[in-house]
Chain length 312, copies 2
Amino acid sequence: MKCRKCGGKGVINLRQHRLILCKDHFLEWMPEQVQRAIEKYHMFTPQERVLVAVSGGKDSLSLWDILTRLGYRADGLYIGLGIDGGVDYSQESLRLAEQFAQAHALKLHTFKVTEAYGLTVPEIAQRTHHGQTKPCSVCGRIKRHIMNRTAREAGYDVLATGHNLDDEAAVLFGNTLNWAAGYLVRQGPVLEADIPGVVRKVKPLCRIYEREMTAYAILRGIEYIYDECPFAVGASSIYYKELLNRLETDRPGAKLNFYLTFLQAKKAGLFSASADQGRQNLHSCPNCGQPTSVDGECAFCRMMARVKSKPA
Amino acid sequence: MKCRKCGGKGVINLRQHRLILCKDHFLEWMPEQVQRAIEKYHMFTPQERVLVAVSGGKDSLSLWDILTRLGYRADGLYIGLGIDGGVDYSQESLRLAEQFAQAHALKLHTFKVTEAYGLTVPEIAQRTHHGQTKPCSVCGRIKRHIMNRTAREAGYDVLATGHNLDDEAAVLFGNTLNWAAGYLVRQGPVLEADIPGVVRKVKPLCRIYEREMTAYAILRGIEYIYDECPFAVGASSIYYKELLNRLETDRPGAKLNFYLTFLQAKKAGLFSASADQGRQNLHSCPNCGQPTSVDGECAFCRMMARVKSKPA
């Protein structure tokens, strides 16, 4: 296995591109690919301020690393969720995020849910969503709220997350299995700030396979948290990823093709304008100022109000 | 395992409906389901004349059986393709189709490609599509042409094919993996006769699982050809069926849900009108009178002209 560029020792075989690369050329190839995606999907310019949502995992730390290498003005945001599992998950992920920021002299915003609200995310979920065994939907709502709020208040132009191709393809697959129109028409590498109070959201790694991100993090010597969130066990997204991996094994490039042809078909006008009704009729939450589709306070504010009204 | 209706011995577990049925109640349930689909999708009325495309397999013979039991005016059409493989495939399938027609005193139209054109389908494919190893696309084109022509000439209102849920879900899955807009917007249980020269096409079994069709044929004592077409080995559709079967095993009902939510989303207006451009600008072929999107003669007539111009 030889590097196609220099003939040196290949470390990775990018089957979907029929490309074998050595360590140096792979570490060069990666930022080029990310830069291409940033330009192709008009994610942001070098003048704009980017806030990277950093979890301490391989994708978000590598994204921060790549954006910094590309010369972008990228700061980090770590949200402490208070999830411990057996591995002290949140503590360890914070340590790794802080370590990376210090080593590269980068600014890291830190928001701890426990300090702000007096409860961990699983505790909030338990108080507000009885019956449910997992706090994932509550966790997502809290993270989206804090990410957007921090980006707005600290004056960032854009919020970048580390979703890779496997993440995006799995979400798309799930939405396709149920033909969830509202989600299908909105999924993409960029969610525009087309509503007052919302910061543009971008996914610069959307065309990079998960295994490539793992290789990048390891070859760059980035220390990241290996463990999945303990609540991710049994999640649909993981199941869909496995299914897509089988497809990819049999048909190299199938996963990338699935995602890219979706974006192309969408751009070519596959979906009707009326299918994207979810973002119409939004207004500002009278409490936090972020947009909501329901009358009165937004889902986040209502949830937090319920938490406060209940004794521990 | 007891029948939910009578407590007798259950022979099939319809997991997606959480329904166990005995032989008699299953054989009663099946035509009810097909009747429901015929009505829901406005396929045809008892007054209309139906031509059933009969291959000699379990689906098409069972469909013919079910429509007859439901009291519809359904005749059959068998197309002899001249495919032999190791099992004398076409000969055996004709024998089974004729045997069924005779046993039920039904009218069967027979069209033999070899008699009409002097060549088998694989031979036509070889002469017109060199490089290709399989005659499947040529076979499909020939069958579509003959089915539509026979239905028109013999005055049928509608053409019914035996595509079951597994067939439809596999096609949908393939079209979704590539986001083939033109195919996605047209797929459905009914293809309307919205173009001059085209007969309405319907798929009354589109909500019935393949395993249910197999059970029906066996329990009804219908003798059918077990073998797949010898050219089907390695086909994408079979690969997609396997993949969907894994999904179905893990999540009973997932296959049905995938297909039905697609139909619902389509009906609710997910796709834009502009995505269905394939059926616009069609005109009649000056040779055969059937519709075509290309200038001059249709793809079928051009193909057959190429066959005739070449020496054997």
